[in-house]
Symmetry: C2
Amino acid sequence: MMVLSYDVTIMKPNTKLDELTSFYKLLANESRLAILLALRDGEDNVAGICGQTGLSQTLVSHQLAALHHSDVVRSRKDGRRTFYALADKHIDIIVGFALDHLAEKEVHHE
Amino acid sequence: MMVLSYDVTIMKPNTKLDELTSFYKLLANESRLAILLALRDGEDNVAGICGQTGLSQTLVSHQLAALHHSDVVRSRKDGRRTFYALADKHIDIIVGFALDHLAEKEVHHE
DNA sequence: ACATCATATGACAATACCATCATGTGTCAA
DNA sequence: TTGACACATGATGGTATTGTCATATGATGT
């Protein structure tokens, strides 16, 4: 039972397969993905991310908490703001490759 | 529900975000991921995949149908068997990079 | 034709997930 | 210290996904 949602207890994955699944679950949501894509352009604070994505503050905070908990993003506090950034270059590359995959699919389909 | 205002045209198009989310949803399940990892070693038929993963025939068929429907795997029939394989090299690479990401995380954590 | 093998499909209960509302916590300025 | 600001957290209803059971389809051998 692998639970990812912010409103339920987050469980530590035991196996590699579990870990990999948990990782992809984080990417498998429109809101979280929008946030990650926004962060590809560089770090931003919560309000900024809300502006970039059009999502509510509450939702963004929840999703960032989930992403942060799994070390997909890192955070830095500055006064009453919190800035978030992609944790490492892999995230960026993985998203890039996925976009490539989708592009290639389109070509084959016509 | 994800609502993006029209004046935020700097963002990636809605459809791309949607597509990317759908793609990751396919990878965000232990059974499907186990199947994809099994197929990294080369094509295999349903019974073979069941053997490699320990999953039931019904479940494997269901998940393969989902993966096939989204062109993540391709199929080839031979008599009464159906052989499945990863649709393109991108899948392989994406999974590889994700594993790298997890490996790097572990190093940083100890 | 019949039995059997290999795989596919439909329906369904259990569970997981999502977005939202209401509210809480910490920071700064006056 | 009071109020506004920036963000975090808890709970909840609605919805989507998961895996299983029962059953269907199609190919092969006798």
